[in-house]
């Protein structure tokens, strides 16, 4: 009843190809953006910003990155964590080599390095497919992790072996380091994430996005239709790694403030992969939903018993969280293997006919 596309006629191909051809979706998005840009900054406290919103946005961006590769181009990767790490270390190096440059620009540039490294590790994808490829991306994960530990140049020979985000200002405000206020960091992360999500939506609806999906759906047919498999896959690896790299750099610069190599370990790769799968492969919106679920649920489970005054041992909460997350992953895979994005579509379908389902 409220969600109706009937009667919304498009008079040009241009209108039909718009990102959101349907009015209700445009309204919905506007509301969400208003909440994100106005309501949250106005009402949220520091904990909500630093421990929920900033990580949520960072992970959403990383999930978009992995989704480009796995969801749209069909190449399963378990090396996301390491590619994020490359971005983080590159941004750190850049900002310590050029201390006066705008750190936001440095974060955006750092993705280029991870794109290059992602493309190198994407090379085997020409010959290796499916699960075999997934295992080879583990080579990237473990090798890069080793580099973060064993190449002291990467962390400026800090005795601690960790990268510590220096104090940087941009546009007259402190944007990184301990003095940066959560609200400033939130705005930077929000803007970068929304901008990249929008730009990726553009790429995905055009020729390049289609060529990725062609490779994903039937690589042989795609090749027979003139798609160069290596180029296309490498481009997906590069774009995906770029986005992951930026997300990784944001993770350390605007969220954690310092990172050890273990911050970019295999478990991060899995975390991002969960977000993509649960959100829905091949769906940008799904990346946001998956990130929300996988990041916020454990935080929620962790702090809820305390709030309710129930005294549960901290480790029990942790164990139970693991069990619940694991069980829910299986549950959602069984209920809807195509993820939240598909559930959302089904929901819309129901809304379309509501309140007269027949």
């Amino acid at each position: 009843m409220f969600y109706r596309e009937a009667g919304q006629f498009k008079t040009s191909y241009k209108a039909d190809q718009a990102l959101m051809p349907i009015l209700q979706d445009r309204v919905g998005l506007t509301v969400i953006l208003l909440i994100a840009f106005v309501a949250i900054p106005a009402f949220a406290n520091d904990f909500f910003l630093t421990s929920i919103m900033i990580p949520f946005l960072v992970f959403s961006l990383a999930a978009i990155g992995l989704n480009v590769l796995t969801g749209f181009c069909g190449q399963l990767s378990l090396g996301t964590g390491a590619f994020m790490g490359v971005g983080a270390y590159a941004a750190y190096k850049l900002t310590t080599i050029f201390p006066d440059a705008n750190v936001i620009v440095m974060v955006l540039l750092s993705g280029i390095f991870s794109a290059a490294i992602g493309a190198v590790f994407g090379l085997p994808s020409l010959r290796i497919k499916g699960l075999y490829l997934a295992v080879t991306t583990l080579a990237a994960q473990f090798f890069l992790e080793w580099c973060f530990i064993r190449i002291p140049w990467l962390y400026n020979y800090n005795a601690s072996g960790a990268i510590e985000v220096p104090h940087r200002e941009a546009f007259g405000v402190v944007v990184s380091g301990a003095e940066a206020t959560p609200i400033v960091r939130y705005f930077i992360v929000l803007c970068i994430t929304v901008a990249i999500a929008y730009l990726m939506a553009n790429v995905l609806r055009g020729r390049i996005g289609r060529s990725w999906m062609m490779i994903r759906d039937m690589d042989i047919a795609a090749e027979l239709m003139g798609i160069r498999p290596l180029q296309t896959k490498l481009m997906a690896f590069a774009v995906s790694s770029y986005i992951c790299g930026v997300a990784g750099a944001m993770m350390v610069f605007f969220w954690l403030n310092a990172a050890e190599p273990s911050s970019y370990s295999i478990s991060l790769s899995f975390q991002i992969l969960f977000m993509v799968i649960l959100g829905g492969l091949g769906s940008l919106g799904g990346a946001f939903m998956g990130a929300a679920f996988i990041w916020i649920l454990p935080v929620f489970l962790k702090f809820i018993p305390g709030t309710l005054g129930i005294d549960v041992a901290a480790e029990t909460v942790e164990h139970v969280t693991f069990m619940i997350v694991g069980a829910l992953i299986i549950f959602f895979l069984i209920v809807e293997p195509h993820g939240f994005a598909r559930l959302w579509q089904i929901g819309k379908q129901k809304l379309r006919v509501w309140p007269f389902p027949y």
Binding site: Y132, G326, A327
Partner: protein, 317 residues
């Protein structure tokens, strides 16, 4: 530099033959353990096409159950029997709750489900038995704990741990037993039929669900054996999970469906990474063991995408 890479390591091997043999032995034992984990993967993949990521965790889970039960006052052998029962329950549960509803889903979904299972088992295991690492009850199980030193020339010494020898022996027994099971029993034949063609197997009246439960149980038993051996070498905790990843390059080398492949692959990785680490690792600061196995597998795959024992893939349209 070139001397360090191409000549010095071999000179070292020649100069200290006892040490070289010790390295080979360590590689062999590590390889056996990798092979055992890979074997669990192969069993499940062959029968159901599921890439069971949780195999590594099942190893820890089995070990943890065994030790945890023993800690709660249950005698070792009874604990062992109960653990076997637990693995059976797990197999049945996985088949019922995870596999059956997800039948015919794409590979990646099944893979994700097993990763979900991994999380669940970690949480469950720690919830029930506590999160701290535990000592394997090696002696209570009647496994040897001593070591034998073989002297070689002057100062030369090769130390063999009895538990490692036991691990090798048990691995051989397990592989033989599985071989007999697959080739000589009715269920074994059914298993192979399912591995070849699901549809055809169904049409001759083989129950897929039953087969899957059996394979998961068999994989659980392999996991238990691996867990005991590995636990005896270090200790039983979920930190072992990361070592279990090593079974993945082994699988790549050996192929996802080949039992001999898993064993040969395991040995190649075991020897390769120990020799690489001890004779070449020092050149780049050490620790290359953490990725060497994957790089070996990757390079290997580039030249032989079908694995060691796989057949040449002909693409069709």
């Amino acid at each position: 530099m070139l001397y360090d890479i191409f000549i010095d390591p071999f000179v070292q091997m020649y100069d200290m033959p006892d040490f070289f043999l010790q390295v080979l032995w360590e590689g062999f034992v590590a390889g056996i353990l990798y092979a055992l984990i890979a074997l669990g993967f192969v069993l499940i993949f062959k029968a159901s096409g599921v890439f069971n990521f949780a195999q590594g965790i099942m190893v820890v889970f089995a070990g943890l159950t065994l030790v945890g039960l023993n800690e709660n006052g249950i005698p070792a052998y009874l604990a062992l029997a109960l653990t076997i029962v637990a693995m059976g329950v797990l197999a049945y549960g996985v088949e019922r709750v995870v596999m059956r509803p997800l039948v015919n889903q794409p590979d990646i979904i099944l893979l994700m489900a097993t990763i979900g299972l991994t999380y669940f088992l970690i949480g469950f295991g720690e919830f029930v038995f506590g999160g701290e690492p535990k000592q394997m009850i090696t002696e209570q199980l009647g496994l040897p704990t001593g070591s034998t030193a073989i002297e070689m020339g002057e100062r030369g010494l090769i130390i063999l741990q009895h538990i490692d020898i036991a691990a090798a022996v048990i691995a051989v027994i397990m592989v033989t037993a599985l071989g007999i099971f697959f080739n000589k029993t009715r269920i074994g034949r059914a298993l192979r039929a399912v591995a070849d063609d699901h549809q055809a197997a169904l049409s001759v009246g083989i129950s897929l669900n039953q087969i899957w439960a059996i394979v998961w149980f068999a994989a659980g038993l392999v996991a238990l054996a691996t867990g005991i051996m590995w636990g005896a070498r270090s200790d039983v905790s979920f930190a072992l999970e990361i070592v279990a990843f090593k079974a993945l390059p082994v699988l790549i080398l050996g192929g996802f469906t080949s039992i001999p492949g898993a064993i040969v692959g395991g040995l190649i990785i075991g020897f390769g990474e120990k020799i690489g680490e001890l004779y070449w690792g020092g050149l780049v600061g050490g620790g290359i063991e953490s990725w060497l196995a994957y790089i070996i597998a990757l390079i290997f795959l580039l030249f032989r995408p079908q694995g060691l024992f796989g057949e040449r893939i002909i693409e069709r349209i």
